[in-house]
Every structure is written in structure tokens, then in C-alpha cells.
């Protein structure tokens, strides 16, 4: 029997094991060496593996990413941590003009296995500069892998797979998920990129949920089950690569599609998922697909507006009901 540990503990364990498995692994980030350790995900690792391997970094985000790339050239496998994805936007040049195109530009001769952990704040008045999730941006970039683990099991397996893989990766971690527990194997294991998981088998509608929308999607499916509606919940786990075949297969069975995404609606990841299904002649869609997203607005600080801003299981359940009614 596996122990049940939290999402944050799973990340910490994966990082600890990676540092143990290979001297090539290093961790860079503001405050990764402190007891609070990025919400507990790096606590104690500097003491155990050395402050040169788990290294506090200046508040120089662009340099941090570019330097990780340079370090990777010398054989290291850096893990870069950002307490908020918003801070990482300073490193868009390093990500877009260098990291994502390094393999391509070198004609396949040079790979840079850099892992970037980006935490997305949510709630408690994070406000507009501490809560953005730009996963759709990163998935748009060729040469980058993008993971959105929703559970402790996936958080550990995807982080290890990223660290020991050969391509640069961005892992989007929903801050709200950090406390959630799950059975997690002790040994170091992998979760492959591009392999969706059917989290709940269903008949009547396909519900694709990304990252932190997975738990409310599962709860919505539970609510709907009480009403006699059988929902298949698919968690793509990574959006680049995206397991389009798994989504298509489910939709061709159920005929209905709802996508729940923790981010802005327009030009987001849900649009890609819907387009991928719609453009496939075999999808057999019986009703128009529906998106459940954050509104196209920056995040309000006030809790009164936060409540209107973030959709939850009720909104998802309602979307599924709606799509079934329309058919």
C-alpha cells in the first residue's frame, strides 16, 4: 500500500529523489533554500543536498532561465522554481527566443533539459499580478513541453519525467492543489507526456478538465451522477503534447464535450481542444461543445468578486446539463 501524501509533498519528494538519483540535477529559485521552501516543495533539500545544488537565486528571472539553459549545456539538469507564474514573465525572452528553439536551431545536436516550475496563485486576494495562468501561451510554442498536473501522483511523476527527459518543460502548478492528498508510490516513477488519463468513465458526455479544474470537474461528475447523467472525465495531464486521440475517442463515444480550464477563455487552451475535436470528421459531435473558463478579465482582489470570477463544480455541472439539453 502506498502512503497518501499531498501535492506539495509529492513535488518535494520528486525533487529530493531527482537530486539523489543524479548529480546533474540542481534546483534554482528565489528562496528554495529556506525552511518555508516554495510552499513546502523544497523544504530541507538545501540542507540535505547542499546549498550549491539547491540554490537561492537573485530576483533576476530572465537571467535565471537563460542561466539554466547555459548550465544545461554543461551537462546539468536544472529545475527552476517560480513562486508565481507572474514573476516568470520577465523570462519570456529566455523561454521564447532561446529555450524553446534551442534544439531546433542546433539542428538536433544540442538539447537543453530545463524544467521550469510555475505556481499559479488563486484566491485570498492574490489580485491581478499574482494569479495569472498562461499555460496556453507556452503550449503555443514549438519545442516546449507543458504539463498541468492535477494530483499528487501526477505532480511527482511528471516532474521526474521532465527532469530526466531531454526537452525543456514548463510545469504549471495550481496553488490550490498543494494540500490535496493521494496515494503516491515511494519509488521514483514517470508519468509520460501526452498521455491523458480517464479519471472517470462515463457514457453521456465528455468533460475535459485541465490542472486545478480537475477536482471540481470530478465533483461535478459526482453531482451529475446523482441526476442520472454519466460523465466521462478526461485529464490530459499535459497540454504539449496534447493527447488529442484520447479526447476524440471519448467524444466519439459520448457525442458531447465540455472543457473546463483554469484560465481566460478567449484564445485559451479550451479553444484548442474544441478546435481539435471539431475539425475531426470522426468526432461525431451531437451538440455544440462548451467552455468553462475564467472570464476574459484580470483577477479581482476582493473576495466578493473572486467568487464571481472563479468557476467551480456548479458551473461545470450546469455546462454539462446545458450541452445535453441542446442536443
Amino acid at each position: 500500500m502506498n502512503r497518501s501524501i499531498s501535492y506539495a509533498e509529492a513535488i518535494r519528494e520528486a525533487t529530493d529523489q531527482a537530486l539523489g538519483l543524479s548529480d546533474q540535477v540542481i534546483v534554482l529559485g528565489q528562496l528554495v533554500d529556506t525552511p518555508s521552501g516554495i510552499f513546502g516543495t523544497t523544504t530541507g533539500l538545501a540542507e540535505k543536498h547542499g546549498a550549491d545544488r539547491v540554490q537561492d537565486y537573485p530576483v533576476s528571472e530572465n537571467l535565471m532561465t537563460a542561466a539554466a539553459l547555459g548550465a544545461a549545456l554543461t551537462g546539468l539538469r536544472p529545475v527552476v522554481c517560480h513562486q508565481r507564474l507572474d514573476f516568470m514573465i520577465y523570462s519570456m525572452d529566455a523561454i521564447t527566443n532561446w529555450l524553446a528553439l534551442w534544439r531546433f536551431k542546433s539542428n538536433g545536436k544540442s538539447g537543453v533539459p530545463v524544467t521550469i516550475r510555475a505556481i499559479v496563485g488563486k484566491g485570498w486576494g492574490q489580485g491581478p499580478q499574482h494569479s495569472k495562468s498562461l499555460h496556453a501561451w507556452f503550449a503555443h510554442l514549438p519545442g516546449l513541453r507543458v504539463a498541468m498536473p492535477a494530483t499528487a501522483f501526477d505532480a511527482k511523476g511528471l516532474l521526474l519525467e521532465s527532469i530526466f527527459g531531454e526537452d525543456p518543460t514548463i510545469i504549471i502548478e495550481g496553488r490550490g492543489l498543494f494540500s490535496m492528498k493521494e496515494e503516491v508510490p515511494e519509488k521514483p516513477y514517470r508519468v509520460r507526456f501526452g498521455k491523458a488519463l480517464i479519471r472517470r468513465v462515463g457514457r453521456d458526455a465528455t468533460l475535459v478538465a485541465l490542472g486545478s479544474m480537475v477536482p471540481p470537474a470530478m465533483r461535478a461528475a459526482e453531482i451529475l451522477a446523482q441526476e442520472g447523467i454519466s460523465v466521462e472525465v478526461i485529464d490530459p495531464r499535459t497540454i504539449s503534447p496534447l493527447d488529442r486521440p484520447a479526447i476524440l475517442e471519448s467524444v466519439s463515444k459520448t457525442g458531447h464535450l465540455v472543457v473546463a480550464e483554469p484560465g481566460w477563455q478567449s484564445f485559451g487552451a479550451a479553444a484548442e481542444i474544441i478546435a481539435a475535436v471539431a475539425e475531426n470528421p470522426a468526432s461525431g459531435l451531437k451538440s455544440p461543445p462548451v467552455r468553462v473558463n475564467f472570464p476574459d478579465s484580470h483577477t479581482p482582489m476582493s473576495m466578493a468578486l473572486e467568487k464571481l470570477y472563479y468557476p467551480g463544480e456548479q458551473e461545470i455541472a450546469e455546462a454539462v446539463r446545458g450541452t445535453l439539453k441542446k442536443s
Partner: protein, 332 residues
Amino acid sequence: MEEALIAQYHPADEMRCPIHFCIGQEAVPAALSLLLKPEDYLFSHHRTHGYYFAKGAPLRELFAEIYGRATGANGGLAGSQDISHTESRFFGGAILAGAVCIAAGAAFGLQHQKAKGISVAGFGEGATDEGAFWEAVNHAGAKSLPILFVVENNRYATFSDQLKRQQTDNIAERVAPFGVKSQSLFGNDAPLVWKTLSQAVNSVRNGSGPMLVEAYTYRWNSHVGPEDDGFNKYRPQREIDFWKRNCPISLLRQKLEKLDWIDNGEVSQMESEIAGEIAECFAFAKASPFPSEANWHSRNFSNATPVADALLAEEESTDFNPSQGEAKLAPY
């Protein structure tokens, strides 16, 4: 004020946003509050309260903002770390160094339009890790912009010692060769801080180009929120003790008492006036309504285009001939 906020922070869980208190760092904002004029712009990092106050923005709107109310300075949209007060020309924001760059732009705007006023940017030594900061310094020097950079060097960025991130703790020295005059000083001696900033503000105001003042000071509290972050063991107790002994408010009070410029009665009266004002602010905040309408679209975009309406004609395009070759780029 900060102490009062802390006392109220958790009990009701009503102030739901990250707050970076500035207890221990009162001298710089207090001095600025005496030096800045309405036409000046002030841009602040995440530790906003002192600067908000320095620009004369209304206190009750700060409290209401932190409480997430519609009457807040930003209608409850921004919270403590992102607060601004447009009418007072005060603008804060949480992303390090971002506001410093914006301040450089405001300085350029003032210079370009030959308008009165200067631009002031207040930030910590952590922000100087960011390359963006150095772009602003370089440009200010090259263009002789009317900007005052104010670094409150409290030695730490969150729990990270400056000397882990920078080779020396002297930012003033580093900006000078960029053409930004600079001065560093003990930042808890309020009269000295006032005098130094006063000279700096005047110098910038008189068109003598950009300046940077580096005030060595210290924050008493945790980096963020009221809970103790001492378990991170990032700073020695004697360091904390040293700075608490050198509290800017106590130092000032001692000095004034020595000079016989104030007596205990006056202090008590001030304290009770302040307490009254704070109580009034709390009452205002708590009695204020929450924002209720989502209105997402109009919160993010303007509905009207009055200037375009006045200046531009309406026209219909004619047919476009698509069989034209693309521009030849050669060779660039």
C-alpha cells in the same frame, strides 16, 4: 496604523490580501510626505502603505481597499500590494522593478511636456537584482530625466540576504557611473532622511537630472503578513535588536524631547488623534459595500473613444488587389 491593521488582520479574516507592512521603515515615506507636491508622481513597490500615505492619498480608501470594498482606492480590485490612487498620482504594484520603469516614463513625460513636477520611485534593494531596474537607471542618466530613485535598503529580499544576490550592498555606488547622482545614508534618522531627500527632491526639481537616495533601514515584521517568519532563520536576533533600538519613531521622539520641541502631552494628543482617525477608517471600510457587479468587459476596456470621435473621419475601403507580390526582404 500598521500596528492597528495587524491587530485586526486575522480575527475576522476580512482583509484578504497579501500585506507587506512597513513597520520600522517609516522614515523615508514620512519624509517624502513633506516634500512631494500634488503635481509629482510617486510609484511604489509591493510595500505600499507608507508611500500611499506619502502622496497624501486618502487613508480611508486604503482601508476600504484592503477590505475589498467598492469604496476602496481601486474599488477592491487591487488590494494592498497593487493599490493606486490616480487622483493623487500614486501608483503601486507588486512585480519588482516594473513600477520603477514606469516612473522613468512618467519622468520623461513631464520633461517632454515641460510640465511641473517630478517622478519618484520607491523600492527595495531586491528590485535592483532585476535587469529592468538598470534599464531605467541607464535611460534616466542618458536623458537626464527628472526622477528620484529611493531605495529602502533593508538588506533582505524576502528571506534572501543582499550579499547572496549582489557583490556589495552599495547600490548608490553602482548607479553613479550611469550618470545618476547618488547618496546613501542611515535611513532611520528621520531628520537626516528628511534633509537628504529634501536636497535630492530639490535637485531633481531644479532640472539637475536624476538622483538615487539609498536609505539603509530595516523591517521589523515578517516579509509579508503579520505572522512571524523567524522560523526561516534568515536574520540574527542581534541584528533585529539593533534596529529595534534604532526605531525611527523613537529616535525622532528622543531628539524632539531633547530639544524640548514636543512634550508628552502633545504626543498623547497626537496618538489619540491618530487612533481616532484609524478607528474612523476601520468603520468606513467595514460599513462599505462589496463590489457586486462583475462587468468584466467594461472593467478591462474603455467603452468610449472621445478623442478618436473628435479627430477621425469614417471611411469605407475600396477594393484591394490581392495579386501583388510580397515585399522582398533581401537581405534583411
